[in-house]
């Protein structure tokens, strides 16, 4: 997979993104190997998805199928969903509870750690056939990934030499992560999934781009939920720029110097059910929105009281899926649960806000997809990659591509 690609990154560096990164299948293959299959921790599940011994859940890292399973001793294992015999997908339910995994094809059986425990006809039938004498079960375990757990969130890596998750995130990003995952037990509210006809990186860019939010999203802008004139920060991890956060504080529904250029701003817009936009503060500090993007596949959403993991799974260069897990805390009272469910109307496949993003990401793919030799201009907020104290910027997109280019050799 190391054949040279016939491309050169634009001379301007991180303030340009060549469009071949969004459509070339060879770039996509290299991403599977180096981004998702390489030195990264991918989000795979919440511990609350698999609370009991034997609980499992299927998912994908990039496009590679894996199974996340709770072991009998309470530990968590992440196993490739590929039988060690001849490769069949042995786990064929999306979620459930199992004592062991039996591949349907020739019924090789594995325990919950992925160890091969049984091979039918291993010693043949009527002294005929069977495995060679030197066949050993322990040579044919399921491939297991390196796991990292923090605050009830499960990450996994194909690279067993990964540093601790805490070092991977860095202190600044870890602080934001721990703000939501503060040790309280989580409670699952439900799942949503969308398939988008767009390259997966457009999803990350969308969440690393506070610039668009003030212009595209009538809802956010008019109600002051997230807007260029609100006090805000965009921050990256200390070392690489691969992770970032957008932090902001809710403003009011009133006109200001900033709203003049927001054509979507509507001071008169009113909700019939205003409860949807009446959040209750629940985290320390005065930020009301923290959107964190964690390389290579996770967005942690905290907008008011709606909390969700948005996991990116890829299908091909021009298709990805967004897997949402909405959650709260196990000790939420009914009023808080109801609040979270109401505010979930902002997000997800039918979200008052996120519908705009889904549609516009496809519009981006439809526009740039067939022009691999053209490039994006990413100069809002300068050309650098340093933290900024406002949201009129595309800085974390530049930081993301700075790291991406290192990983991909571009």
């Amino acid at each position: 997979m190391n054949e040279p690609l016939p491309y050169k990154w634009p001379e301007e560096g991180n303030s340009r993104i060549p469009y071949w990164v969004y459509s070339d299948p060879r770039v996509y293959e290299r991403e599977q190997e180096r981004v998702f299959g390489g030195a990264s921790y991918s989000f795979v599940a919440l511990e609350a998805d698999i609370p009991n011994p034997g609980d499992f859940k299927r998912t994908r890292i990039g496009d590679r199928p894996v199974v996340v399973v709770r072991d009998t001793d309470g530990g968590v294992n992440v196993l490739v969903n590929r039988c060690a015999h001849r490769g069949a997908r042995y786990c064929y339910r999306e979620h459930g509870n199992a004592k062991e995994f039996t591949c349907p094809y020739h019924q090789w059986t594995y325990d919950l750690t992925g160890a091969l425990t049984g091979v039918p006809f291993r010693h043949g039938v009527k002294k005929q056939g069977g495995m060679p004498d030197d066949f050993k079960l322990e040579d044919h375990h399921l491939e297991a990934l390196k796991c990292a757990l923090r605050g009830g969130v499960i990450f996994a890596s194909f690279d067993h030499s990964m540093p601790a998750f805490e070092d991977y995130l860095g202190p600044k990003m870890l602080g934001y992560f721990d703000r939501v995952f503060d040790g309280r037990e989580l409670g699952i509210l439900g799942y949503s999934r969308q398939r988008m006809r767009a390259n997966w990186k457009l999803m990350f860019e969308n969440l690393k781009d506070p610039y668009h939010a003030s212009l595209l999203h009538v809802f956010l802008v008019s109600f002051g939920l997230f807007r260029a004139d609100n006090p805000s920060q965009v921050q990256m991890d200390e070392k690489t720029g691969m992770h970032s956060v957008q932090v902001s504080r809710r403003g009011e529904q009133k006109a200001s110097e900033g709203t003049r250029e927001m054509r979507q701003f509507d001071q008169e817009l009113r909700l019939h059910n205003p409860e949807m936009l009446q959040p209750v503060p629940e985290f320390p500090g005065d930020a009301t929105v923290v959107m964190q993007t964690i390389w290579p596949n996770l967005i942690v959403q905290q907008q008011s009281n709606t909390l969700a993991m948005r996991q990116i799974q890829t299908l091909d260069a021009e298709t990805f899926e967004l897997h949402w897990t909405f959650f709260g805390y196990a000790d939420d009272d009914d009023a808080m649960t109801m609040r979270r469910l109401r505010q979930a109307n902002l997000m997800g496949p039918a979200g008052f806000v996120s519908v705009d993003d889904s549609e516009v990401m496809e519009a981006a793919q439809f526009g740039l997809g067939k022009y691999p030799d053209s490039e994006a201009v990413v100069e809002m907020g300068g050309r650098g990659v340093e933290d900024q104290d406002h949201m009129v910027t595309e800085v974390s997109i530049r930081a993301f591509y700075d790291h991406y280019r290192n990983v991909m050799g571009f």
């Binding site: 509210l189 439900g190 398939r195 988008m196 009538v218 019939h272 705009d356 889904s358 519009a363």
Partner: protein, 159 residues
């Protein structure tokens, strides 16, 4: 309340047919009129529904909630043009108790984006509660339970 099950069935079918006609003909402003003031409307995936998870893709509480969706579709949301068409089948009155009529029906929504083939956008079942109000039936509760957890791009219009 009519005692004649054939008459009731006719009335229920008329309501469902008028409901999907309203949506298919793009007359979404009239959509809340099919509901009672204190209605509950939800579009929820079969996965969440069957696992007892409360998260809905769309949750509207009362007619106000429906009207907020109307505002979003007609003024605030940004999306590609499309034509939608509902196909209904198997409309069944499952029971009548205390003035509430339980109805179940299958639906499929066909979606046609500009310059694309028509596809099945969403399919599932309605689990509804109807009540008589004035001279007609209205939805007191409408639950759209859709089969595929995977939504193609986005769910913009009500079902």
């Amino acid at each position: 309340m009519t005692d004649d099950p054939r008459l009731l069935r006719y009335e229920v079918e008329e309501l469902f047919f008028a409901y999907v006609e309203c949506l298919d003909e793009g007359e979404i402003e009239r959509w809340p009129d099919f509901f009672t003031e204190d209605c509950l409307y939800k579009i929820i995936s079969r996965e969440n529904f069957e696992r007892g998870l409360p998260l809905a893709a769309m949750l509207c509480e009362g007619r106000g909630g429906l009207m907020d969706r109307v505002v979003s579709v007609t003024t605030t949301s940004v999306y590609h043009d499309r034509a939608l068409r509902h196909l209904l089948s198997n409309i069944r009155v499952k029971g009548v108790a205390n003035g509430v009529i339980d109805v179940q029906a299958n639906y499929a929504v066909l979606e046609t984006l500009t310059n694309e083939f028509t596809t099945v956008f969403n399919a599932g079942k309605y689990l509804d509660k109807l009540v008589r109000q004035g001279d007609g039936l209205k939805f007191k509760e409408k639950l759209c339970v859709f089969d595929s957890v995977m939504v193609p791009t986005s769910l913009i219009f009500p079902i």
